[in-house]
């Protein structure tokens, strides 16, 4: 035993021999309640949005450079790959937005009981779906 944390992992069996306690089952054993899925999705979308800032940086740098550079950036955003990236980025942003508000409300000490966090969890998913569709309908109509 090298670490104090180890002390809780070691016990004696009925023969008095030192044995390592069994570890609890890992992630794949549990079913996935909505909160568990949203928790990891919040991280994944956060990291994806980090990658997405490269797209934003490119667009803003192109706008500061020249007409040609801006046209190239605009052309890419309008291409099939660009639209796919923008769609993924919008889903990630809208999800992270609503999920983040849910986290902020928790930080205020509200909504921690199981019925409430299950309801707000599904609320985040529905709000994300509805708002993403709305944003794209309005966005494509303006375009």
């Amino acid at each position: 035993m090298r670490d104090v944390r180890d002390a809780q992992m070691i016990a004696r069996n009925s023969d008095g021999k030192l044995v390592r306690r069994p570890l609890s089952p890992h992630l794949q054993v549990y079913r996935w309640p909505v909160s568990m899925a949203l928790s990891i999705l919040h991280r994944i979308t956060g990291c994806a949005l980090g990658v997405g800032t490269l797209l934003f940086t490119w667009w803003i740098v192109a706008a500061a450079s020249s007409d040609d550079a801006f046209d190239r950036a605009q052309w890419f955003m309008g291409s099939a790959l660009g639209l796919l990236l923008l769609f993924g980025w919008s889903v990630a942003l809208i999800f992270h937005f609503f999920s983040g508000i849910r986290h902020l409300v928790w930080d205020a000490g509200i909504g921690f009981d199981a019925p409430t966090y299950n309801t707000t969890g599904w609320g985040v998913i529905i709000a994300t779906a509805v708002c993403t569709v709305l944003v794209w309908i309005v966005g494509l109509a303006v375009w």
Binding site: M1, R2, I10, R43, G50, T57, F70, G100, L104
Partner: protein, 131 residues
């Protein structure tokens, strides 16, 4: 953590913790992450509406849009809050999943450098357009 279990150390948690205690900055990271998140709620809404408004816009329209002091100010706030929030968030993810101390510190610093650099590039760009 492996092999036949045996005990070769008897040391209390207090003994271990002495000299390694609070650096008195424990809540700063947490608080900064929440404040930037709070700032990003209205800024993100504004940005989404702006992107919709600007979809398919010409270069000149974008330049005119960014030249308004209100837009430029909001854009700078969005850039600073976004990259600060990104740096804080990715740091937590790295600290949770990377267990090798050297790789952990190196990646946290690399992400931080990248965020600062991208933020500066964005700030210079919008200032160049807007001023």
């Amino acid at each position: 953590m492996s092999g036949t279990p045996h005990i070769d150390m008897l040391r209390s948690p207090l003994g271990r913790a002495r000299g390694l205690g609070s650096a008195r900055a424990g809540s700063r990271h947490w608080w900064a992450q929440r404040l930037t998140a709070l700032a990003l709620v209205p800024l993100t809404l504004w940005f989404i509406f702006s992107v919709i408004h600007l979809s398919g816009a010409s270069h000149q329209v974008v330049i005119d849009w960014l030249s308004a002091p209100l837009t430029l100010g909001l854009m700078l706030a969005l850039i600073v809050a976004t990259f600060h929030h990104l740096q804080l968030g990715v740091q937590v993810v790295i600290e949770d999943y990377v267990h090798d101390e050297r790789i952990k510190i190196a990646s946290v610093l690399a992400v931080r450098a990248l965020c600062v650099l991208l933020a500066l590039i964005c700030i210079v760009s919008v200032l160049k357009i807007g001023l």
